[in-house]
């Protein structure tokens, strides 16, 4: 091992039943660098991380860490921690029922007792020095998601780690919090910590990372200096082909200008989670809610679908007044909803792809009219083909599919109900660029060819500008502006979100 290298992984291979998840992958991390690990879904990023943190046992290959002679094998997360490898996962892996300070210190240290006073004091000092808005004695579950994430980082920082792995840490943070996190990362880098940064956001990679390692289909594509690798090239390396531009995406149609019929209209609609708001969508229109995370954009669409308890407001569908207070009523009024949190609200993990596809249509058809096996099979086959879902069979449990394919199954579920109005909340989050493009194309195709109304939410403003003809901008749970036509530029959206809209 040469000087300045903290971690070397050579020829790492691991296979699961039927899949070679990693095939002879090399990875090196230097002292004081931020090293981005890139790849599409199923490329093997998470598997590599899990080998490094002792969750999976590698089949072949060697791992070396600075300061420890010889090859090491990591059997458990505890062992990884002892070796100076700390990880912060996308999903919060802390205990909600313990205090902030306990979450920072539990599972390490020696001795029988818990030195509460010392722990609270040190935790307070660390939280202050990192500028994290949490109190040591506060129960973790009373913190916001972003603060919980930062507590996780504070914990990792305090373990005196040599290698810090950040596995998609930014996906639940807003821009301000991301900046704060980047500050923290640069600070740690200056202290000589090697940081492995896994993310889907290209801009963030170019904002902080020094080098990039790209994986594809479990194989190493290469290691590059960030400054030397143009963005387009990175994308093509990840996808294994030249990026097909989105230029061929058909021009969007402005339903507002064409004076198409209004399909859905709400006045003063509110739920336990959202403030009263007005909203309408015309047939064949694609519009979107935008705003920072936590601005209330998801809550608004949840209210439309009655996913949360509706507390007031008037709704008309095709100019007829209706009451939508349960998801089933929304469905019967031709509304479909692809939820933001796929794992929590979308998939039924142990059920087969087939059952997941027919679920919504089956519910609409009614309790006493189950589909025959043949019919269900036909539906499933049809949509697996149309959406190009990669699954071994229709009997495969959806939980064993990759994120992108799970998302397609949920999409298939709603397309099968032939909705007149489809709500897609972050359909492209956490899935690879290829599938993202496919989904965007599909949205435009559906609205133009079948006259379906679509509300689309995405954290990536570019994506929304490309597909939506009207954007509703939200800030702090209020609608602060509506942009159409020429106003649909990134600058304008930012300006409105930032509060200069009026």
């Amino acid at each position: 091992m040469d000087n300045g290298t903290v971690l070397t992984m050579r020829g790492i291979s691991i296979s699961f039943p039927g899949v070679k998840a990693l095939n002879r992958v090399n990875f090196t991390l230097r002292e004081g660098e931020i090293h981005a690990l890139m790849g599409e879904n199923g490329a093997g990023k998470s598997t590599l991380i899990k080998v490094l943190t002792g969750v999976y046992a590698k089949d072949e290959g060697t791992i070396e860490i600075a300061g420890i002679p010889g090859h090491i094998t990591i059997h458990s997360p505890q062992e990884a921690q002892r070796l100076g490898i700390s990880t912060v996962y996308q999903e919060i892996t802390l205990c909600p029922n313990l205090t902030v300070a306990e979450n920072m210190y539990i599972g390490r240290g020696k001795g029988m007792g818990v030195p509460w006073k010392k722990m609270y004091r040190e935790a307070g000092a660390l939280l202050d020095s990192l500028g994290i808005p949490a109190r040591p004695r506060q129960l973790l579950k009373t913190c916001s998601l972003a603060v919980q994430q930062m507590v996780a980082i504070a914990r990792a920082v305090d373990t005196q780690c040599k290698v810090l792995i950040l596995d998609e840490p930014t996906s639940s943070l807003d821009d301000r919090e991301v900046e704060m996190l980047f500050g923290l990362m640069r600070d740690l880098k200056a202290r000589g910590v090697g940081i492995i940064f896994v993310t889907h956001f290209l801009d963030q990679v170019y904002a902080v990372s020094d080098r990039i390692t790209v994986l594809r289909n479990g194989e190493l594509v290469g290691e590059f200096e960030t400054a030397m690798l143009p963005k387009v090239e990175l994308v093509s390396k990840m996808m294994g082909k030249e990026l097909e531009g989105l230029a061929d995406v058909a021009p969007k149609r402005d339903a507002e200008e064409e004076q198409a019929k209004v399909y859905y209209q709400a006045e003063g609609l509110s739920s336990t989670e959202s403030k009263p708001f007005d909203f309408r969508i015309r047939e064949g229109e694609v519009n979107g809610f935008t705003g920072l995370l936590g601005s209330g954009r998801s809550e608004c669409v949840r209210t439309i679908f009655a996913a949360d308890r509706v507390t007031g407001g008037r709704v008309t569908v095709e100019d007829k007044p209706v009451t939508i207070n349960k998801p089933i009523k929304a469905m019967r009024n031709g509304i479909g909803y692809l939820p933001e949190d796929r794992k929590r609200d979308g998939i039924v993990a142990d059920l087969s792809v087939r059952e997941n596809i027919i679920l919504a249509l089956q519910v609409m058809k009614g309790f006493f009219h189950p589909f025959s096996r043949k019919k269900a099979e036909a539906f499933a086959d049809e949509y697996i083909k149309t959406l190009d879902i990669k699954t071994a069979s229709t009997d495969t449990p959806i939980g064993s599919l990759s994120g992108g394919n799970q998302q397609k199954v949920i999409l298939a579920r709603w397309l099968l109900t032939h909705p007149r109005y489809l709500i897609l909340d972050e359909p492209t989050r956490g899935i690879d660029i290829g599938t993202k493009t496919e989904i965007q194309r599909l949205i435009l195709k559906l609205s133009q060819e079948t006259g379906m109304s679509i509300t689309f939410i995405s954290s990536e403003i570019e994506e929304m500008l490309r597909t939506c003809s009207r954007l509703i901008v939200m800030r702090d749970r209020n609608i602060v502006g509506e942009l159409t036509g020429d106003e649909l530029t990134q600058d304008h959206v930012m300006y409105t979100i930032a509060g200069g809209g009026n």
């Binding site: 679908f305 998801p327 609200d345 979308g346 039924v348 142990d350 059920l351 609409m364 309790f367 189950p370």
Partner: protein, 357 residues
């Protein structure tokens, strides 16, 4: 290689959870046959009244497990939808039995009165089931905790209904429910199990209940957002379990033609939960196979009868049963399954290497 395997193993892949219970049942049968080749012989004899009846260990296993099998069916539904278990089923059966007898005591026993009694006790048990179900679905109380209430006071309620006695009835119809229908050699409880089985089979065939139960059990949120009335589905599971309790309560009452609130189906809740687990169903809810639970019920009864046949006293049986149960669940445990899986993989790899060589 993948394709040939797909065709070959489809039955065992789909029903892999039934593998361990079926093997266990087979081993029990083989063990008994070795011990006593005539163990499973069945003979047709005439009872005191001159009616033909079937007798033998096999019949007594099938007959004796009737209440347990019916309760295991209901328990499977509750387990699937709520991810928890109902520990009040024995108490509910006692209440149902008491209501049944109470109705029969109200007048001369005619077939209509018996029917009315059955209807009344089904209704009462289903109401109690709905009470449990409401606590679980509306108030989100853990099923075991929610049913702890009736577990604590159910038998006392039965005692109260009985008015502080253990009432008996003299009736051929009631006797037939727990024994033999005159002229028909198969015990009536076995027929009732078959009827309940058909009832649930039809329910699964002509409604979407099975899919709803699993969806709610696996992901309550997702089920709700797909328009499923998750609260209603859970409630329905408990109400159906209430029905099962009533039916087994009636059978148990019919066997002795009396209802003793203390001893009627005592401790059967534990056996019913065991049956579900032995049948390879996860007690955490979600996917289920009702047939597995029924096989589990027969395994438990077969084990008990075998032990009795080996002259083990009825109170000692528990200890031996515990050992067998532990063996069964260890074989079905995730860790052991993984271990077998990796062994199989290694064998396959070795085999393919040999082939390559």
């Amino acid at each position: 290689m993948g394709k040939t395997e797909k065709g070959k193993s489809s039955f065992f892949q789909k029903n892999s959870q039934l593998l361990v219970p079926l093997i266990a049942l087979m081993l029990l049968v083989i063990f008994n046959l070795i011990r006593d080749p005539g163990f499973f012989s069945i003979e047709l004899v005439n009872d005191n009244a001159g009616n033909p009846v079937l007798q033998g260990n096999l019949i007594s296993i099938l007959n004796g497990a009737s209440e347990l099998a019916i309760l295991a069916m209901g328990m499977t539904l509750v387990t699937a939808a709520s991810g928890g278990q109902d520990i009040s089923v024995g108490c509910l059966a006692a209440i149902a039995g008491s209501v049944f007898i109470k109705v029969l005591k109200s007048g001369p026993i005619t077939p209509w009165l018996v029917l009315g009694g059955v209807a009344a006790c089904c209704l009462v048990a289903m109401c109690f089931g709905a009470f449990n179900g409401t606590l679980v679905s509306v108030f989100r109380v853990q099923p075991m905790i929610a049913t702890l209430i009736l577990f604590t006071c159910g038998r006392s309620i039965a005692y109260w209904i009985n008015g502080g006695a253990t009432p008996t009835v003299e009736s051929d119809i009631v006797k037939a429910i727990g024994g033999f229908i005159p002229g028909f050699p198969i015990p009536a409880p076995i027929l009732i199990v078959v009827l309940m089985g058909i009832f649930f089979a039809l329910l699964f065939r002509f409604t979407t209940l099975s899919m709803y139960l699993q969806a709610v059990g696996i992901n309550n949120n997702a089920a709700r957002l797909n328009g499923i009335n998750a609260v209603g589905v859970k409630l329905l599971a408990f109400v159906l379990l209430g029905l099962c309790c009533a039916v087994s309560g009636v059978i148990a009452t019919g066997r002795l033609q009396l209802v003793n609130h203390e001893t009627l189906l005592i401790n059967i809740e534990m056996d019913a939960i065991l049956a579900v687990a032995i049948g390879g169903n996860s007690l955490g809810g979600g996917k289920f196979k009702m047939i597995g639970s029924v096989i589990g019920a027969y395994i438990i009864q077969a084990l008990t009868v075998t032990l009795y046949a080996m002259k083990v006293s009825s109170t000692d049986v528990k200890a031996y049963k515990a050992v067998v149960i532990i063996l069964l669940v260890v074989l079905g445990s995730p860790v052991v399954k993984r271990w077998f899986g990796s062994m199989r993989n290694k064998l396959a790899v070795a085999g393919s290497r040999k082939e390559a060589a």
